[in-house]
């Protein structure tokens, strides 16, 4: 072999070794949460009749598995934390390459974002963009969304993820499983919401809620920002593809400025003849018990809102109940897994308030025993107990102050826990309950 050939082969061999190593490093180091979130979208794309787009309000508030359970709707949640309408547009464009939905639900909460994407929420943007297969749509996305400073971390995500090398665990070397929640993310709030400061948290929430005054829907924002452009582009894109659109605003505490943005949506709903379900004006959730914070529903609220949205979809759109259909068994499997996870979260929860929030579940049968009726004089505690919707037994002989028994109707698993009031008056701001299994 001539010297030049040998040199050429060495260079090629070096490149081959390097490319193999780089590919391996890219796979191992990448953040797996995005793969888990969107895995089913790419593997079962044609199964979904409804796609859900939006921000944290929707990723935590509209649960595809509950839509399935309650209405037999097959849906996928493409919303994410801090997701702007600009990102929604590109996520939808990409999703339409792999899905064939009948309805697209667009959460309009982030209309007040006057930016194409939220810089502080870049990790969530990565969850979508890094997992999009390379396509003309993805290239257009790069051109549209990213200023130069962020382009490289999206074009070559290894530039971001290689710094995970010191945080790798065994799971990074295994194939990534689907999150099993069809894009939604209920983990963000269940079980962690109401810890030792829960009473104070609830107090603050209620103080906010009491300031909550709804402006008349005629009060709209005067200047339309870039998010309105993307909203129109999304509606037009859907209509060009014979996809129906449902605009939605989840129940939340909203500042007057935010409300003006939301109220402006009616104009677009009229213009394009699409439905707008404004949760600010609906009374399906219980403001005393269904919120994790002022803006986001907790698990109890998410169940109720999902059921409400599901009913609205069934009433206003031609959607089929797919329950029992062949090939969709994984919906039932996911639902059971999810239910079990919720049950585990309930068991792990150490707070009375958190346990009461989690006890509201269509698949849980709950019984509550209280040692002293005066506990229910506390309006916050009473709100949570009432929210569970079960009979409350007063047993003055009981050694514990609160006993909660939960049976999962899907698995017949049973769990009981008790709480003892250890200090403070009967007032949510000072009372502390200790858990005793």
């Amino acid at each position: 072999m001539s010297k030049n050939k040998k040199r050429g082969l060495t260079v090629i061999l070096t490149l081959v070794f390097f490319v193999i190593m780089l590919m391996g490093m890219m796979v191992v180091t990448r953040d797996k949460s995005g793969i888990a979130k969107n895995k089913d979208l790419y593997t079962h794309g044609n199964d979904y009749d409804v796609l859900i787009l939006g921000s944290s309000h929707s990723v935590m508030g509209i649960l595809p598995l509950e839509l399935w359970n309650h209405n037999g709707i097959t849906s996928y949640n493409l919303a994410n934390y801090g997701q702007s309408l600009g990102v929604d547009y590109w996520v939808l464009r990409n999703a339409l390459r792999y899905t064939n939905p009948k309805v697209v639900v667009i959460d309009v909460y982030t209309l007040f974002f006057d930016e194409k994407y939220s810089v502080v929420h870049l990790p969530y943007l990565h969850q979508h963009v890094d997992n999009m297969p390379l396509s003309s749509t993805k290239i257009e996305l790069y051109k549209d969304l990213f200023a130069d400073e962020f382009t490289m971390e999206f074009v070559f995500p290894f530039s971001l993820y290689h710094s995970r090398w010191d945080k790798l665990t065994t799971s990074d070397f295994m194939p990534t499983e689907s999150s099993g929640q069809l894009g939604a993310d209920v983990n963000q709030y269940i079980g962690q919401s109401l810890g030792s400061t829960d009473a104070e948290q609830i107090m603050n929430l209620h103080n906010h809620m009491h300031e909550y005054d709804l402006l008349p829907t005629t009060e709209v924002c005067e200047e339309k920002n870039i998010s309105f452009d993307y909203l129109e582009m999304m509606i037009q894109l859907c209509q060009e593809n014979d996809i129906e659109v449902m605009l939605v605003m989840s129940p939340a505490y909203c500042t007057e400025d935010n409300q003006r943005y939301i109220n402006s949506v009616y104009e677009y709903a009229d213009k394009y003849n699409v439905h707008f379900l404004n949760g600010l004006w609906e009374n399906n959730v219980y403001y005393e018990a269904d919120f994790f914070d002022t803006a986001h529903l907790n698990s109890s609220g998410a169940f109720k809102w999902s059921d409400y949205v599901g009913d609205y979809l069934c009433s206003n759109y031609s959607l089929t109940n797919h329950k029992g259909e062949e090939g969709l068994e994984y919906f039932d499997d996911y639902y059971v897994e999810w239910n079990n996870m919720m049950f585990d979260k309930l068991k792990e929860n150490t707070s009375l308030f958190g346990t009461l929030v989690l006890a509201y579940n269509p698949n849980f049968k709950t019984a509550i025993t209280i040692s002293d009726e005066t506990f229910l004089e506390d309006m916050y505690l009473k709100a949570l107990v009432d929210n569970v919707g079960c009979d409350v037994v007063i047993d003055s002989e009981s050694k514990a102050d609160f006993c909660i028994k939960v049976i999962s109707t899907l698995t017949n698993e049973e769990y009981s826990c008790c709480f003892i009031a250890v200090e403070g008056e009967i007032d949510a701001s000072t009372i502390v309950f200790d858990k005793q299994d």
Partner: protein, 462 residues
Amino acid sequence: MLFNSFGFLLFFPITVIFYFLLPNRSRNVWLLAASYFFYMQWSAVHILLLMFSTVISFVSGILTEKAGNDTKQKQLCVLGSFSINLFVLFVFKYANMLPNVSLNLVAVVGISFYTFQALSYTMDVYRGDIPAEHNFITYALFVSFFPQLVAGPIEKSRDFLPQLKTEHKFDYDNAREGFYLMLWGYFIKLCIADRASVIVNRIFDNVSSYNGLYIVIAAVMFAVQIYCDFAGYSIIALGCAKFMGFKLTENFDAPYLSTTVSDFWRRWHISLTSWFRDYLYIPLGGSRNGTCRKYINIMIVLLVSGLWHGAAINFTVWGGLNGLYQVVENILKLNHKRKTFIGKAVGGFFTFVMVDIAWVFFRAKSCREALVALRNLLSPTVFDHSLTFGIGRRQMVVLILCIFVLIVSDIFKRRGVCFRRKLMSLNPVIRAFLVASFIAFILLVGVWGAGFEQAAFIYFQF
């Protein structure tokens, strides 16, 4: 444009490919254009200063040559070039040091480097070491050759100008060696310097909260950081130049293995040290005018060197301390070569300690902060979980391993063993695997990309 930026990864191959594709007569024009483009990535306006310095020293060179044997006229030309160049350097670097002066001028990247390179040419022509360069493109490229433009090595005209007039054909061995040099430079910059900087910044940015061992670790890590940062840049520069067939001056020769401070300064920032030796120490009389005068000259050179590094008192103190060490070594006759292992080890240890104490002044934002650091260094160590190094355990382990590799490499270098050459003699398949693994390691473990501010090379500010 930093060497550790994506821009450079595009810029360098394009520059090299066109350099070899173009006919020889156009190559310098291409390299000059590329060098100006490279420089303009920091500040397009400041290219005017670079051009100004180039024109002044170029004209001065021709006028000096034309003056023939007229010493006065020659001196006038040299004086003109020095005055104008140093005035520009003074205005853009030191004017803000003066009381009641606030020009708020933005720091000019690499101004100390290219000014000194231009001045070395002026002196060399004056001394008759080289003829004046009549081709402006060649001369402009000498001043602004992109690999060494912003952080050296400061090349001597007699070494580098002839290379710019020589035709460089693509040579596989040069390219390969240049590539290996670049990889080594990236390794010590990204895997050592930038990771050590996290520890250094964490502690020095809050120096009053740390004490004892924490300050010792920070000081040692800064010694490692500044060496790997600067040597890393220099080695990448050497590699880039080598790829195109140019040979630049090696700027570091395992300096921390020195057994005396004088020895350290012969091996640290060699191109600057030799510049000061040739154009300041020797003109001042060097060691020819008696011992006392020699010590004064050493102190002058080191104080000026300190000032060259930064327009602040702490840099001057750093230079002064290093000068003082050398004077004391001379007086106590400690600057002889140590022969026994124990002698070398003890000498090496004390040299490192002394140099590192001086580095504290270099790193601190002020002399006051440096003194706080040294005071806290001597206080007992109070271990506190809230006091962290800013990096996790795995990162610390890898950093220590990388530093170990560097030490081993420096020890072998001193013994004349070059790993790079050893690598070249290996079986091609093994070599290909090792090189690919090394690149992969740098990419995986190195500090680069999003999420990290691309740490600018420390020496750019000088």
